[in-house]
Symmetry: none
Subunit: 156 residues, 2 copies
Amino acid sequence: MGSSSLFLDTVTNKVDAKGRVSLPSDYRAILKNLSTDVVCYRSLTSPCIEGCTEDLLEKLAANMESSMDFFSNEQDELTNLIFGDAKRFPFDSTGRIVLSEKLLKHAQISDTAVFIGKGRKFQIWSPENWEKEEQRIRQAVLQKRPQLFLNNKGDN
Amino acid sequence: MGSSSLFLDTVTNKVDAKGRVSLPSDYRAILKNLSTDVVCYRSLTSPCIEGCTEDLLEKLAANMESSMDFFSNEQDELTNLIFGDAKRFPFDSTGRIVLSEKLLKHAQISDTAVFIGKGRKFQIWSPENWEKEEQRIRQAVLQKRPQLFLNNKGDN
DNA sequence: TTGATTCCCATAAAATCCCATGCTATACCA
DNA sequence: TGGTATAGCATGGGATTTTATGGGAATCAA
C-alpha cells in the first residue's frame, strides 16, 4: 500500500496560541516510515515555511563531506544559511509540531496554516498568501506553456 | 526518531563571568548519541569559534593518512593548524561548557554567544558579528545561485 | 593563602507531554 | 439502502518535565 515517501496534497489546519499545528497524517506516516524527523526553515524566496525530512539534509551533509570541502568558502556560506536556519520539529503523540515565532512571522501565519505537498519537500503558507501564490503560479504556467494544455486534451 | 547527528538551528545563550555557556540541548543530544565530545577551535577565516565532534576530527585524520593525492598539501597544513588549536570541551551536569579566554577573544564574545548549526560542524559568534555575517551571506548566496537551495529540479 | 576551576543546588521560564472532547470518514449490519 | 457503530484525527487546556542560568561550596594549583 501507500509506502511512498512523497509529500502530496493540500491540507489546512489550525495553529493554536502555543504555535501548535497538526502535521497532516499522511506526512506523519512518511516520517514514521523513514524513521526520520521533519526539518523546517524559512523559504529563501517566498513568504512561507519550507519543510523536508532530516534524511534529505543528511544527504546534503554527506555530499559536502565526500567532496572534501571541509574548508571551502562557498560551501561554508551555503551551509550557514541552510543548517543555521533549519530546525528539527518532532511531532508529539497527538501528531502536532510547535512552529517557532521566527517561522510563523516569516510566513505571516497567525491562526491557520496551509500545508502544500511538493514531493520531497512541502511548504506551509498562510491562507491569504497561498491564495495569491496559487493564482500567480497558475497564470505563469498558462503564459509559459499554453501548448501543454492544447496537446494533452483528454488526460486531465 | 531523531537519531540524526546534524547540528542545526541558531541558538542564543548567555556567557557568564566564568565563561560558562549552555550548549544547545539539541547539540548535547547528538553528543550523547555518538558518545563523543565537542571540540572547539578558532575559525581560520572568521572571527568566530568553530566546533565539531571529536569523531569528525578522527575521520579527517584518517583521510589524511589514507589518501595521498586526495588532500593537497595546503589542506594538510590547514588541518594541522586546526589540530594544534583544537581542544575538547566536555559539558557538565547542567549542560554547560567553559569557553577559554583565547576563544572568546578571537570571537569577540563578551556576555552573549550565538550558536549556528552547520551540519557536521557549528560555529559560535558574538551577536553583533553574526548579524553582519548573516546579512553578507544572504546577499552573496542569493546573488550567486539561489537555485542551489535544495531545489533539485524545477519544483519551486 | 589566593586565585582559579569544577561541582552541586536552586529557581524561573519555557518546552513537552498527557488527557479529554468533538468531528469526520469509513466500516458494518440490518 | 440507510442507519449506526467505530476508529482515527484535529484541537483545547492543564499538568509535568527540561532547560537556561545564577550563586555558592568544594577542589585544585601555585
